[in-house]
Symmetry: C2
């Protein structure tokens, strides 16, 4: 890997593990095995390098989610596949965790890719809920955007519960809880899906 690639990949790992305020330029250089001047040679500094790293992580997260959400199955099944897809739950979300970082949230530039990714995810899920309503899988009284926000929030908050307890079980419980509610949210004239 080239030096800029090593710097980007090391920054991505450190941002995931320690966040932006917890990641020093020194730690990035050490992990990348790069010399002192190399960060400023290839990037304008820590914010510029972090922005490149966050954008790449955001793109990957979007591609992974799209792979499941655009996959086969009914709307309910695709939402289920998204919620149940294999995750390294105790590591948390590399994008969502950045929202707890004061320096990411304070400036628009670093926050933008975080916001855009979560926004894209909510819109995509809202579309799937609406598809499900057209197909009679979900009650027409539900609001697609609200259900989508609840789905994304359950995942992001599930990481919080799992990391607090030191076990993925709490994440799984939240996901099962939401899915059982979605399963009972079939229109009243249609038998509820077994949860």
């Amino acid at each position: 890997m080239s030096t800029p690639e090593r710097l980007i990949e090391s920054t991505r790992e450190l941002l995931w593990e320690r966040g932006y305020v917890g990641t020093s330029p020194k730690a990035i250089l050490e992990r990348a095995g790069a010399g002192q001047g190399s960060m400023y040679h290839h990037f304008k500094g820590k914010p510029d390098l972090a922005l490149t790293a966050i954008r790449r992580t955001a793109e990957e997260m979007r591609a992974t989610a799209a792979g499941v959400l655009d996959g086969p199955g009914t709307p309910y099944e695709r939402i289920e596949a998204y919620l149940r897809r294999e995750r390294d739950v105790l590591r948390g979300c590399p994008i969502g965790r950045l929202t707890m970082d004061p320096d990411v949230i304070a400036g628009d530039e670093l926050r933008a890719p975080v916001d855009e990714t979560l926004d894209w995810l909510r819109e995509r899920l809202a579309g799937i809920v609406e598809e499900g309503q057209e197909q009679g899988e979900f009650a027409p009284s539900l609001d697609g955007e609200e259900i989508a926000a609840a789905v994304v929030a359950t995942v992001q908050g599930g990481y919080v519960l799992a990391r607090a307890s030191g076990s993925p079980a709490a994440f799984d419980a939240g996901v099962r809880g939401l899915l059982s509610l979605l399963a009972t949210a079939a229109p009243k004239d249609r038998p509820a899906r077994p949860a």
Copy 2:
């Protein structure tokens, strides 16, 4: 306020704003207006002071939640009151945000009050869901602990969405989405509550 009190309160604020890794002993002393030696005079060091601060924040959070959950109303209404209670959404949860902190999660001591608080909340909510099932407000097929995990996750993840977008609207959307699902989760022989 006494010096130890000022140290504890300053630490609570900084942990909420910047997390544990983002809070230096120097920043605590500056905010508390305390002299260099005072942290080590009154506490064993940053971890000891942080533990005292986290415990106090956890106690307050528990008391606030209990005030709503033990209040008047049907089980659905008490869960709704918990989800809708006034929050400074963009500040996030002072307890939940600590789960993104590698130094809090790495050691059992600082993680313990975080885990206990979220665990207490989930158990309390699970009990309320079960009450609602006994009263015919929620379908008997639902699992109280799973619904409770979904409720707490929606709140914790709602903060993530709100902070990403820089607006409380996304938090509110997630809460409304979950409530609309809970409202349709009445037993099939009972008319659904209007969402």
